[in-house]
Protein backbone atom coordinates (compact mmCIF):
# COMPACT_ATOMS: atom_id res chain seq x y z
CA UNK A 1 0.00 0.00 0.00
CA UNK A 2 1.17 3.52 -0.76
CA UNK A 3 0.01 6.20 1.67
CA UNK A 4 -0.13 9.79 0.42
CA UNK A 5 -0.63 12.52 2.99
CA UNK A 6 -1.57 16.03 1.93
CA UNK A 7 -2.82 18.95 3.99
CA UNK A 8 -5.18 20.46 1.42
CA UNK A 9 -7.79 19.21 -1.02
CA UNK A 10 -6.09 21.26 -3.71
CA UNK A 11 -2.86 19.30 -3.13
CA UNK A 12 -4.76 16.01 -3.30
CA UNK A 13 -6.70 16.66 -6.49
CA UNK A 14 -3.89 16.19 -9.11
CA UNK A 15 -2.75 12.99 -7.31
CA UNK A 16 -6.29 11.61 -7.21
CA UNK A 17 -6.65 12.30 -10.94
CA UNK A 18 -3.24 10.80 -11.79
CA UNK A 19 -3.82 7.57 -9.88
CA UNK A 20 -7.64 7.39 -10.32
CA UNK A 21 -8.33 7.51 -6.57
CA UNK A 22 -11.97 7.48 -5.44
CA UNK A 23 -13.52 9.02 -2.33
CA UNK A 24 -13.70 6.66 0.65
CA UNK A 25 -15.73 7.38 3.79
CA UNK A 26 -14.26 4.81 6.16
CA UNK A 27 -12.75 7.43 8.48
CA UNK A 28 -13.87 10.84 9.70
CA UNK A 29 -11.17 12.40 7.50
CA UNK A 30 -11.08 13.02 3.77
CA UNK A 31 -9.78 9.84 2.13
CA UNK A 32 -9.33 8.73 -1.47
CA UNK A 33 -8.37 5.19 -2.48
CA UNK A 34 -7.71 2.63 -5.12
CA UNK A 35 -6.51 -0.96 -4.60
CA UNK A 36 -2.87 0.00 -4.07
CA UNK A 37 -3.02 3.53 -2.70
CA UNK A 38 -4.74 5.62 -0.10
CA UNK A 39 -4.60 9.40 0.09
CA UNK A 40 -5.40 11.23 3.31
CA UNK A 41 -6.18 14.95 3.42
CA UNK A 42 -5.15 15.67 6.99
CA UNK A 43 -5.97 19.39 7.17
CA UNK A 44 -3.59 22.22 8.00
CA UNK A 45 -1.27 22.18 11.00
CA UNK A 46 0.77 19.75 13.06
CA UNK A 47 -2.04 18.67 15.36
CA UNK A 48 -4.42 17.87 12.52
CA UNK A 49 -1.62 15.95 10.79
CA UNK A 50 -0.76 14.00 13.94
CA UNK A 51 -4.39 13.01 14.58
CA UNK A 52 -5.32 12.14 11.02
CA UNK A 53 -2.17 10.14 10.25
CA UNK A 54 -2.50 8.24 13.54
CA UNK A 55 -6.09 7.37 12.65
CA UNK A 56 -5.14 6.25 9.14
CA UNK A 57 -2.20 4.13 10.26
CA UNK A 58 -4.20 2.57 13.08
CA UNK A 59 -6.95 1.72 10.60
CA UNK A 60 -4.61 0.30 7.93
CA UNK A 61 -1.41 -0.65 9.76
CA UNK A 62 1.47 -0.39 7.28
CA UNK A 63 3.49 -3.47 6.35
CA UNK A 64 7.23 -3.51 5.74
CA UNK A 65 6.74 -3.17 1.98
CA UNK A 66 4.43 -0.14 2.28
CA UNK A 67 5.53 3.44 1.77
CA UNK A 68 4.33 6.85 2.88
CA UNK A 69 4.73 10.10 0.96
CA UNK A 70 3.86 13.42 2.53
CA UNK A 71 3.49 15.86 -0.34
CA UNK A 72 2.39 19.45 -0.30
CA UNK A 73 3.38 23.05 -0.73
CA UNK A 74 5.85 25.06 1.35
CA UNK A 75 7.14 28.58 1.68
CA UNK A 76 10.86 29.01 1.11
CA UNK A 77 13.72 31.52 1.09
CA UNK A 78 14.27 33.33 -2.17
CA UNK A 79 17.09 31.07 -3.35
CA UNK A 80 14.51 28.33 -3.93
CA UNK A 81 12.59 28.52 -7.19
CA UNK A 82 8.81 28.71 -7.13
CA UNK A 83 7.57 25.32 -8.31
CA UNK A 84 10.76 23.51 -7.27
CA UNK A 85 10.17 20.10 -5.63
CA UNK A 86 12.25 19.48 -2.50
CA UNK A 87 13.02 16.23 -0.71
CA UNK A 88 13.26 16.79 3.03
CA UNK A 89 16.12 15.23 5.00
CA UNK A 90 15.58 17.04 8.29
CA UNK A 91 12.41 18.35 9.89
CA UNK A 92 13.00 21.05 12.49
CA UNK A 93 10.15 21.67 14.93
CA UNK A 94 11.44 24.18 17.48
CA UNK A 95 14.07 22.21 19.43
CA UNK A 96 13.00 18.79 18.08
CA UNK A 97 14.60 17.39 14.94
CA UNK A 98 13.33 14.49 12.85
CA UNK A 99 15.22 12.62 10.14
CA UNK A 100 13.63 10.43 7.46
CA UNK A 101 16.16 7.92 6.06
CA UNK A 102 16.87 8.61 2.40
CA UNK A 103 18.16 5.25 1.16
CA UNK A 104 17.46 5.78 -2.54
CA UNK A 105 18.81 7.86 -5.39
CA UNK A 106 16.73 10.73 -6.74
CA UNK A 107 17.07 13.94 -8.69
CA UNK A 108 15.33 16.28 -6.26
CA UNK A 109 17.01 19.04 -4.29
CA UNK A 110 17.38 17.97 -0.66
CA UNK A 111 16.90 20.35 2.21
CA UNK A 112 15.90 20.77 5.83
CA UNK A 113 12.48 22.23 6.59
CA UNK A 114 11.05 24.12 9.53
CA UNK A 115 7.64 22.94 10.61
CA UNK A 116 5.82 25.98 12.00
CA UNK A 117 2.49 26.67 13.66
CA UNK A 118 1.16 29.43 11.40
CA UNK A 119 1.71 30.61 7.80
CA UNK A 120 5.02 32.52 7.65
CA UNK A 121 5.24 36.02 6.25
CA UNK A 122 8.90 36.55 7.08
CA UNK A 123 11.73 34.71 5.38
CA UNK A 124 13.37 31.88 7.34
CA UNK A 125 16.70 30.14 6.94
CA UNK A 126 14.95 27.03 5.59
CA UNK A 127 11.72 26.27 3.73
CA UNK A 128 8.68 26.13 6.03
CA UNK A 129 5.58 23.97 6.18
CA UNK A 130 2.96 23.26 8.83
CA UNK A 131 2.43 19.47 8.82
CA UNK A 132 5.68 17.52 8.32
CA UNK A 133 6.58 17.08 11.99
CA UNK A 134 3.05 15.90 12.85
CA UNK A 135 3.08 13.43 9.98
CA UNK A 136 6.55 12.21 10.99
CA UNK A 137 5.71 11.77 14.67
CA UNK A 138 2.61 9.72 13.91
CA UNK A 139 3.98 7.73 10.97
CA UNK A 140 7.27 6.79 12.65
CA UNK A 141 5.23 4.86 15.23
CA UNK A 142 4.05 2.60 12.43
CA UNK A 143 6.74 2.69 9.68
CA UNK A 144 10.50 2.42 9.52
CA UNK A 145 12.23 5.70 8.71
CA UNK A 146 13.22 4.61 5.19
CA UNK A 147 9.61 3.85 4.25
CA UNK A 148 8.74 7.57 4.35
CA UNK A 149 9.47 10.47 2.00
CA UNK A 150 8.62 14.12 2.51
CA UNK A 151 8.25 16.11 -0.71
CA UNK A 152 7.51 19.81 -0.57
CA UNK A 153 6.88 22.06 -3.57
CA UNK A 154 7.81 25.71 -3.22
CA UNK A 155 4.65 27.79 -3.59
CA UNK A 156 5.91 31.18 -2.42
CA UNK A 157 8.76 33.10 -0.84
CA UNK A 158 6.95 33.48 2.46
CA UNK A 159 4.08 35.44 0.96
CA UNK A 160 1.24 33.06 1.89
CA UNK A 161 -1.37 35.57 0.74
CA UNK A 162 -0.18 35.00 -2.85
CA UNK A 163 -1.06 31.27 -2.76
CA UNK A 164 -4.31 30.35 -4.50
CA UNK A 165 -6.22 27.08 -4.81
CA UNK A 166 -5.70 27.05 -8.59
CA UNK A 167 -1.98 27.77 -8.11
CA UNK A 168 -1.62 24.84 -5.69
CA UNK A 169 -3.39 22.47 -8.10
CA UNK A 170 -1.06 23.61 -10.91
CA UNK A 171 2.06 23.17 -8.75
CA UNK A 172 1.12 19.63 -7.73
CA UNK A 173 -0.02 18.75 -11.24
CA UNK A 174 3.44 19.64 -12.54
CA UNK A 175 5.03 17.02 -10.26
CA UNK A 176 2.71 14.01 -10.38
CA UNK A 177 5.00 12.18 -12.82
CA UNK A 178 7.89 12.68 -10.39
CA UNK A 179 5.82 10.69 -7.87
CA UNK A 180 6.00 7.63 -10.15
CA UNK A 181 9.80 7.57 -10.03
CA UNK A 182 9.86 8.38 -6.31
CA UNK A 183 7.56 5.43 -5.64
CA UNK A 184 9.69 3.07 -7.71
CA UNK A 185 12.85 4.25 -5.89
CA UNK A 186 11.25 3.74 -2.48
CA UNK A 187 10.01 0.32 -3.53
CA UNK A 188 13.49 -0.69 -4.70
CA UNK A 189 14.96 -0.44 -1.17
CA UNK A 190 15.66 -4.05 -0.17
CA UNK A 191 13.07 -5.47 2.22
CA UNK A 192 13.22 -8.44 4.53
CA UNK A 193 11.62 -11.44 2.90
CA UNK A 194 9.24 -13.68 4.81
CA UNK A 195 11.10 -16.80 5.87
CA UNK A 196 8.08 -19.08 5.98
CA UNK A 197 5.03 -19.33 3.76
CA UNK A 198 1.60 -18.89 5.34
CA UNK A 199 1.09 -22.67 5.20
CA UNK A 200 4.43 -23.34 6.87
CA UNK A 201 3.69 -20.76 9.54
CA UNK A 202 0.39 -22.46 10.36
CA UNK A 203 2.15 -25.84 10.67
CA UNK A 204 4.85 -24.31 12.88
CA UNK A 205 2.30 -22.73 15.21
CA UNK A 206 0.39 -26.01 15.55
CA UNK A 207 3.63 -27.84 16.35
CA UNK A 208 4.74 -25.21 18.87
CA UNK A 209 1.48 -25.62 20.79
CA UNK A 210 2.72 -29.03 21.97
CA UNK A 211 5.69 -27.55 23.81
CA UNK A 212 6.45 -25.19 26.66
CA UNK A 213 7.27 -21.53 25.93
CA UNK A 214 11.04 -22.02 26.19
CA UNK A 215 10.88 -25.22 24.11
CA UNK A 216 8.85 -23.52 21.40
CA UNK A 217 11.30 -20.58 21.38
CA UNK A 218 14.17 -23.04 20.85
CA UNK A 219 12.18 -24.70 18.06
CA UNK A 220 11.48 -21.36 16.40
CA UNK A 221 15.21 -20.55 16.49
CA UNK A 222 16.11 -23.93 14.99
CA UNK A 223 13.52 -23.54 12.22
CA UNK A 224 14.80 -20.05 11.46
CA UNK A 225 18.37 -21.38 11.39
CA UNK A 226 17.32 -24.12 8.97
CA UNK A 227 15.50 -21.77 6.61
CA UNK A 228 18.24 -19.11 6.60
CA UNK A 229 20.87 -21.78 6.01
CA UNK A 230 18.96 -23.82 3.41
CA UNK A 231 16.75 -21.30 1.64
CA UNK A 232 15.31 -23.74 -0.89
CA UNK A 233 14.89 -26.86 1.25
CA UNK A 234 11.33 -27.68 2.28
CA UNK A 235 10.44 -28.05 5.93
CA UNK A 236 9.25 -31.44 7.03
CA UNK A 237 7.10 -31.01 10.13
CA UNK A 238 4.70 -33.90 9.79
CA UNK A 239 5.49 -35.50 13.14
CA UNK A 240 3.69 -37.86 15.43
CA UNK A 241 3.50 -36.06 18.78
CA UNK A 242 3.71 -38.46 21.74
CA UNK A 243 1.52 -37.96 24.79
CA UNK A 244 4.30 -38.32 27.31
CA UNK A 245 6.05 -35.09 28.28
CA UNK A 246 9.43 -36.83 28.40
CA UNK A 247 9.00 -38.33 24.94
CA UNK A 248 7.92 -34.96 23.57
CA UNK A 249 11.09 -33.40 24.96
CA UNK A 250 13.19 -36.11 23.33
CA UNK A 251 11.40 -35.59 20.03
CA UNK A 252 12.06 -31.87 20.20
CA UNK A 253 15.73 -32.45 20.99
CA UNK A 254 16.05 -34.71 17.93
CA UNK A 255 14.19 -32.26 15.73
CA UNK A 256 16.38 -29.32 16.77
CA UNK A 257 19.52 -31.43 16.21
CA UNK A 258 18.42 -32.39 12.71
CA UNK A 259 17.43 -28.80 11.83
CA UNK A 260 20.74 -27.37 13.01
CA UNK A 261 23.04 -30.21 11.89
Amino acid sequence: MIYFITALDAEARPICEHYCLKRDRSLPFTLYRNDAMVLLVCGMGKTNALMAVSALMGWRIPKEEDILINIGICGAPSDYLIGEALLIHQIIDEDRHYYPDILFTHSLRETSIRCVGTPQSTLCDYPVDMESSGVFQAASRFCKLHQMAYVKIVSDHCTPESVTKEGVIALLHAHVNMLDSLISSLKAIPKPTLLFSAGERDEIEILKDHFTKSQSDALEDALTYFRLKHKDKPLSLNLHIPNSKRERSLLLEKLISSLTA
Partner: protein, 339 residues
Protein backbone atom coordinates in the same frame (compact mmCIF):
# COMPACT_ATOMS: atom_id res chain seq x y z
CA UNK B 1 10.26 -2.47 -25.19
CA UNK B 2 12.89 -0.88 -22.99
CA UNK B 3 13.33 -2.65 -19.68
CA UNK B 4 14.04 -0.38 -16.74
CA UNK B 5 16.57 -1.61 -14.18
CA UNK B 6 15.86 -0.93 -10.51
CA UNK B 7 17.35 2.34 -9.20
CA UNK B 8 20.79 1.88 -7.66
CA UNK B 9 21.31 2.69 -3.97
CA UNK B 10 23.00 5.99 -3.15
CA UNK B 11 26.79 6.02 -3.02
CA UNK B 12 28.54 5.36 0.26
CA UNK B 13 28.18 8.29 2.65
CA UNK B 14 25.74 10.13 0.38
CA UNK B 15 24.76 12.07 3.50
CA UNK B 16 27.08 13.63 6.08
CA UNK B 17 25.42 14.47 9.38
CA UNK B 18 27.72 16.88 11.16
CA UNK B 19 27.49 18.12 14.72
CA UNK B 20 27.60 21.92 14.73
CA UNK B 21 30.35 21.73 17.36
CA UNK B 22 32.81 19.97 15.05
CA UNK B 23 32.03 21.85 11.87
CA UNK B 24 35.33 23.73 12.02
CA UNK B 25 37.45 20.75 13.18
CA UNK B 26 40.25 20.05 10.63
CA UNK B 27 39.15 16.40 10.31
CA UNK B 28 35.61 17.50 9.48
CA UNK B 29 36.83 19.94 6.87
CA UNK B 30 39.06 17.31 5.24
CA UNK B 31 36.22 14.78 5.11
CA UNK B 32 33.78 17.34 3.76
CA UNK B 33 36.20 18.11 0.96
CA UNK B 34 36.53 14.40 0.21
CA UNK B 35 32.75 14.01 0.01
CA UNK B 36 32.02 17.29 -1.70
CA UNK B 37 28.95 15.84 -3.50
CA UNK B 38 27.33 14.51 -0.34
CA UNK B 39 24.41 16.18 1.37
CA UNK B 40 25.48 17.97 4.54
CA UNK B 41 22.97 18.06 7.38
CA UNK B 42 23.82 19.99 10.53
CA UNK B 43 22.82 18.35 13.79
CA UNK B 44 23.14 19.19 17.47
CA UNK B 45 24.23 15.74 18.70
CA UNK B 46 25.05 12.50 16.90
CA UNK B 47 22.52 10.56 18.98
CA UNK B 48 19.59 12.40 17.39
CA UNK B 49 20.47 10.58 14.14
CA UNK B 50 22.31 7.44 15.29
CA UNK B 51 19.90 6.51 18.08
CA UNK B 52 16.61 7.29 16.31
CA UNK B 53 13.82 4.80 16.90
CA UNK B 54 12.37 2.99 13.86
CA UNK B 55 15.64 2.58 11.95
CA UNK B 56 16.19 -0.55 9.88
CA UNK B 57 19.75 -1.87 10.28
CA UNK B 58 19.27 -4.16 7.28
CA UNK B 59 17.95 -1.45 4.95
CA UNK B 60 20.63 1.04 6.06
CA UNK B 61 23.41 -1.51 5.45
CA UNK B 62 23.04 -0.97 1.71
CA UNK B 63 23.29 2.83 1.99
CA UNK B 64 25.42 3.87 4.92
CA UNK B 65 25.61 7.49 6.02
CA UNK B 66 28.43 9.17 7.93
CA UNK B 67 27.98 11.09 11.17
CA UNK B 68 30.81 13.35 12.34
CA UNK B 69 30.78 14.05 16.05
CA UNK B 70 32.73 14.88 19.17
CA UNK B 71 33.25 12.11 21.70
CA UNK B 72 32.33 13.56 25.05
CA UNK B 73 33.14 10.71 27.40
CA UNK B 74 35.69 7.93 27.57
CA UNK B 75 37.49 6.93 24.38
CA UNK B 76 39.19 4.05 26.17
CA UNK B 77 37.55 0.99 27.67
CA UNK B 78 39.06 -1.99 29.43
CA UNK B 79 39.55 -5.01 27.16
CA UNK B 80 36.72 -7.49 27.47
CA UNK B 81 36.65 -11.19 28.33
CA UNK B 82 35.87 -11.92 24.66
CA UNK B 83 39.34 -10.88 23.50
CA UNK B 84 43.00 -11.54 24.21
CA UNK B 85 45.16 -8.92 25.95
CA UNK B 86 48.37 -10.84 25.17
CA UNK B 87 49.55 -10.60 28.76
CA UNK B 88 50.22 -6.85 28.79
CA UNK B 89 49.83 -5.11 32.13
CA UNK B 90 47.00 -2.90 30.88
CA UNK B 91 44.68 -3.65 27.98
CA UNK B 92 42.26 -1.13 26.53
CA UNK B 93 40.28 -0.80 23.38
CA UNK B 94 39.67 2.57 21.81
CA UNK B 95 36.24 3.52 20.57
CA UNK B 96 36.78 6.30 18.07
CA UNK B 97 34.37 5.03 15.43
CA UNK B 98 30.94 3.44 15.88
CA UNK B 99 29.78 1.14 13.11
CA UNK B 100 31.77 -0.58 10.41
CA UNK B 101 31.96 -0.43 6.63
CA UNK B 102 31.98 -4.19 6.52
CA UNK B 103 28.79 -6.09 7.04
CA UNK B 104 29.58 -9.39 8.75
CA UNK B 105 26.58 -11.45 9.78
CA UNK B 106 28.22 -12.60 13.00
CA UNK B 107 29.38 -9.17 14.15
CA UNK B 108 28.25 -8.04 17.60
CA UNK B 109 27.93 -4.48 16.32
CA UNK B 110 24.59 -5.39 14.76
CA UNK B 111 23.35 -6.25 18.20
CA UNK B 112 25.07 -3.32 19.85
CA UNK B 113 23.96 -0.38 17.71
CA UNK B 114 20.51 0.72 16.56
CA UNK B 115 21.91 1.96 13.24
CA UNK B 116 24.09 0.67 10.41
CA UNK B 117 25.45 4.19 9.87
CA UNK B 118 28.99 5.13 10.88
CA UNK B 119 29.82 7.65 13.60
CA UNK B 120 33.33 9.05 13.38
CA UNK B 121 34.55 10.92 16.44
CA UNK B 122 36.88 13.51 15.02
CA UNK B 123 38.53 14.56 18.31
CA UNK B 124 41.03 11.69 18.50
CA UNK B 125 43.44 14.05 20.23
CA UNK B 126 41.24 13.69 23.33
CA UNK B 127 41.79 9.90 23.26
CA UNK B 128 45.54 10.48 23.42
CA UNK B 129 45.10 12.82 26.40
CA UNK B 130 42.97 10.21 28.18
CA UNK B 131 45.62 7.56 27.54
CA UNK B 132 48.67 9.52 28.72
CA UNK B 133 48.23 8.85 32.47
CA UNK B 134 48.41 5.08 31.83
CA UNK B 135 51.58 5.12 29.78
CA UNK B 136 53.97 4.67 32.68
CA UNK B 137 53.70 0.90 32.21
CA UNK B 138 53.15 -1.47 29.33
CA UNK B 139 49.74 -0.82 27.82
CA UNK B 140 48.07 -2.48 24.87
CA UNK B 141 45.44 -0.55 22.96
CA UNK B 142 43.29 -2.30 20.37
CA UNK B 143 42.31 0.45 17.96
CA UNK B 144 40.01 -1.62 15.76
CA UNK B 145 37.68 -3.10 18.29
CA UNK B 146 34.36 -1.41 17.50
CA UNK B 147 35.09 -1.03 13.81
CA UNK B 148 37.65 -1.94 11.17
CA UNK B 149 39.75 1.23 11.26
CA UNK B 150 41.94 0.16 8.34
CA UNK B 151 38.87 -0.21 6.13
CA UNK B 152 38.20 3.52 6.48
CA UNK B 153 41.80 4.67 6.97
CA UNK B 154 41.81 6.66 3.74
CA UNK B 155 38.87 8.60 5.17
CA UNK B 156 39.90 8.96 8.81
CA UNK B 157 43.74 8.77 8.95
CA UNK B 158 43.18 7.58 12.53
CA UNK B 159 45.57 4.63 12.29
CA UNK B 160 48.36 6.93 11.13
CA UNK B 161 47.65 9.24 14.05
CA UNK B 162 47.79 6.30 16.48
CA UNK B 163 51.10 5.19 14.97
CA UNK B 164 52.55 8.68 15.33
CA UNK B 165 51.42 8.77 18.94
CA UNK B 166 52.90 5.31 19.62
CA UNK B 167 56.31 6.41 18.37
CA UNK B 168 56.48 8.94 21.21
CA UNK B 169 55.46 6.50 23.99
CA UNK B 170 57.70 3.52 24.62
CA UNK B 171 55.20 1.62 26.79
CA UNK B 172 52.38 1.85 24.31
CA UNK B 173 51.61 -1.24 22.22
CA UNK B 174 48.99 -1.19 19.51
CA UNK B 175 46.99 -3.96 17.92
CA UNK B 176 45.37 -2.94 14.66
CA UNK B 177 43.02 -5.68 13.59
CA UNK B 178 41.49 -5.73 10.13
CA UNK B 179 39.96 -7.62 7.25
CA UNK B 180 41.09 -4.87 4.90
CA UNK B 181 43.43 -5.23 1.96
CA UNK B 182 44.35 -1.57 2.33
CA UNK B 183 47.98 -1.96 3.42
CA UNK B 184 49.00 0.85 1.09
CA UNK B 185 47.60 3.30 3.67
CA UNK B 186 50.61 2.41 5.88
CA UNK B 187 53.18 1.91 3.15
CA UNK B 188 55.06 5.12 3.89
CA UNK B 189 55.08 4.57 7.65
CA UNK B 190 58.08 3.14 9.49
CA UNK B 191 57.14 -0.16 11.15
CA UNK B 192 57.21 -0.13 14.94
CA UNK B 193 58.17 -3.18 17.01
CA UNK B 194 55.36 -2.24 19.44
CA UNK B 195 52.65 -2.31 16.81
CA UNK B 196 51.01 -5.47 15.53
CA UNK B 197 48.90 -5.60 12.43
CA UNK B 198 46.44 -8.46 12.76
CA UNK B 199 44.45 -9.89 9.88
CA UNK B 200 41.21 -11.77 10.43
CA UNK B 201 41.08 -14.62 7.97
CA UNK B 202 38.25 -16.90 6.94
CA UNK B 203 37.73 -19.50 4.22
CA UNK B 204 36.49 -17.85 1.02
CA UNK B 205 33.19 -19.77 1.30
CA UNK B 206 32.64 -18.24 4.76
CA UNK B 207 33.56 -14.79 3.43
CA UNK B 208 31.05 -15.19 0.60
CA UNK B 209 28.27 -16.27 2.94
CA UNK B 210 28.82 -14.22 6.08
CA UNK B 211 31.37 -11.43 5.56
CA UNK B 212 29.62 -9.10 3.13
CA UNK B 213 31.56 -6.27 1.49
CA UNK B 214 34.91 -7.56 2.78
CA UNK B 215 38.04 -8.31 0.70
CA UNK B 216 38.71 -11.87 -0.46
CA UNK B 217 41.05 -14.17 1.44
CA UNK B 218 43.58 -13.76 -1.37
CA UNK B 219 43.60 -9.97 -1.01
CA UNK B 220 43.88 -10.15 2.78
CA UNK B 221 46.80 -12.56 2.55
CA UNK B 222 48.52 -10.40 -0.03
CA UNK B 223 48.14 -7.39 2.26
CA UNK B 224 49.56 -9.37 5.21
CA UNK B 225 52.45 -10.54 3.05
CA UNK B 226 53.20 -6.95 2.02
CA UNK B 227 53.15 -5.87 5.67
CA UNK B 228 55.61 -8.63 6.62
CA UNK B 229 57.89 -7.68 3.74
CA UNK B 230 57.79 -4.06 4.93
CA UNK B 231 58.93 -5.15 8.41
CA UNK B 232 55.71 -5.02 10.44
CA UNK B 233 54.77 -7.46 13.20
CA UNK B 234 51.89 -9.45 11.79
CA UNK B 235 49.42 -11.66 13.59
CA UNK B 236 46.93 -13.85 11.76
CA UNK B 237 43.58 -14.60 13.32
CA UNK B 238 41.19 -17.37 12.40
CA UNK B 239 38.66 -15.93 14.74
CA UNK B 240 35.73 -16.25 14.82
CA UNK B 241 35.49 -19.74 13.41
CA UNK B 242 31.97 -20.35 12.14
CA UNK B 243 31.08 -23.99 12.55
CA UNK B 244 29.45 -25.31 9.38
CA UNK B 245 28.86 -28.72 7.87
CA UNK B 246 32.07 -28.29 5.82
CA UNK B 247 34.18 -27.16 8.76
CA UNK B 248 36.50 -30.20 8.48
CA UNK B 249 37.39 -29.26 4.91
CA UNK B 250 37.15 -25.46 4.85
CA UNK B 251 39.23 -24.48 7.86
CA UNK B 252 42.16 -26.94 7.55
CA UNK B 253 42.32 -25.93 3.87
CA UNK B 254 42.40 -22.28 4.97
CA UNK B 255 45.47 -22.98 7.14
CA UNK B 256 47.15 -24.66 4.15
CA UNK B 257 46.28 -21.67 1.95
CA UNK B 258 47.62 -19.22 4.53
CA UNK B 259 50.98 -20.92 4.85
CA UNK B 260 51.30 -21.46 1.13
CA UNK B 261 51.41 -17.62 0.93
CA UNK B 262 52.88 -16.57 4.28
CA UNK B 263 56.11 -17.81 5.81
CA UNK B 264 55.09 -19.24 9.23
CA UNK B 265 58.34 -17.95 10.74
CA UNK B 266 57.45 -14.41 9.72
CA UNK B 267 54.30 -14.08 11.84
CA UNK B 268 54.04 -13.27 15.51
CA UNK B 269 51.12 -15.56 16.32
CA UNK B 270 48.24 -17.42 14.81
CA UNK B 271 45.11 -16.85 16.87
CA UNK B 272 42.28 -19.37 16.85
CA UNK B 273 38.85 -18.75 18.36
CA UNK B 274 35.37 -20.03 17.77
CA UNK B 275 32.34 -17.76 17.55
CA UNK B 276 31.19 -16.30 20.88
CA UNK B 277 28.94 -13.44 21.78
CA UNK B 278 27.22 -11.97 24.80
CA UNK B 279 23.68 -13.22 25.21
CA UNK B 280 22.31 -9.67 24.98
CA UNK B 281 24.00 -8.97 21.66
CA UNK B 282 22.86 -12.33 20.34
CA UNK B 283 19.25 -11.53 21.25
CA UNK B 284 19.50 -8.26 19.33
CA UNK B 285 21.12 -10.06 16.38
CA UNK B 286 18.22 -12.52 16.28
CA UNK B 287 15.72 -9.69 15.97
CA UNK B 288 17.31 -8.75 12.64
CA UNK B 289 16.68 -12.28 11.28
CA UNK B 290 19.47 -11.86 8.74
CA UNK B 291 21.70 -14.88 9.19
CA UNK B 292 21.67 -18.46 10.42
CA UNK B 293 24.68 -17.63 12.66
CA UNK B 294 22.34 -15.91 15.11
CA UNK B 295 20.06 -18.94 15.43
CA UNK B 296 22.48 -21.79 16.11
CA UNK B 297 21.60 -23.56 19.39
CA UNK B 298 24.53 -22.14 21.34
CA UNK B 299 25.37 -23.08 24.86
CA UNK B 300 24.88 -20.10 27.15
CA UNK B 301 26.53 -19.65 30.48
CA UNK B 302 27.37 -16.49 32.40
CA UNK B 303 25.54 -14.52 29.71
CA UNK B 304 28.02 -15.73 27.05
CA UNK B 305 26.87 -17.78 24.05
CA UNK B 306 29.40 -20.21 22.58
CA UNK B 307 29.26 -23.42 20.62
CA UNK B 308 28.54 -26.40 22.90
CA UNK B 309 31.72 -27.42 24.69
CA UNK B 310 32.24 -30.59 22.60
CA UNK B 311 32.05 -28.62 19.34
CA UNK B 312 34.21 -25.79 20.66
CA UNK B 313 36.85 -28.27 21.76
CA UNK B 314 36.63 -30.12 18.44
CA UNK B 315 37.09 -26.86 16.50
CA UNK B 316 40.14 -25.85 18.50
CA UNK B 317 41.75 -29.29 18.57
CA UNK B 318 41.27 -29.76 14.82
CA UNK B 319 42.71 -26.36 13.97
CA UNK B 320 45.45 -26.55 16.60
CA UNK B 321 46.65 -29.87 15.15
CA UNK B 322 46.65 -28.44 11.64
CA UNK B 323 48.34 -25.19 12.63
CA UNK B 324 50.95 -27.12 14.59
CA UNK B 325 52.18 -28.55 11.28
CA UNK B 326 53.48 -25.04 10.55
CA UNK B 327 53.99 -23.35 13.92
CA UNK B 328 55.23 -24.31 17.39
CA UNK B 329 52.43 -24.40 19.99
CA UNK B 330 53.69 -21.32 21.82
CA UNK B 331 52.98 -19.25 18.72
CA UNK B 332 49.39 -20.46 18.45
CA UNK B 333 46.98 -18.63 20.73
CA UNK B 334 43.46 -19.80 21.34
CA UNK B 335 40.39 -18.22 22.82
CA UNK B 336 38.33 -20.61 24.91
CA UNK B 337 35.78 -19.96 27.60
CA UNK B 338 37.37 -19.90 31.05
CA UNK B 339 35.58 -22.62 33.02
Amino acid sequence: MKSSSPPSPPKLFSHLYIERGVLEHPQTQRIRAKFADSQVILIDHYKEVFNRPAQSFAAQSGSKKLILARKEGKFLHEGSQYSDGFGTEQFFYASSVMGCLYDCDYCYLQGLYPSANTVLFVNLEDAFEQLRPYLGKDTLVATSYDTDTMAIESLTHQTLRWLEFAVEHEHLHLEIRTKSANFKALKNTTPSPRVTLAWTLSPQEIINTYEHATPSIEKRLNAAEEAIAAGWNVRLCIDPVIYTENFDILYPKLIETIFATIDPNAIEHLTLGSFRMSQNHLRALKKLRRSDVAFYPYSVSDEMATYPEAIETYILETLMAKAHQYLPKERIRTWQRQL
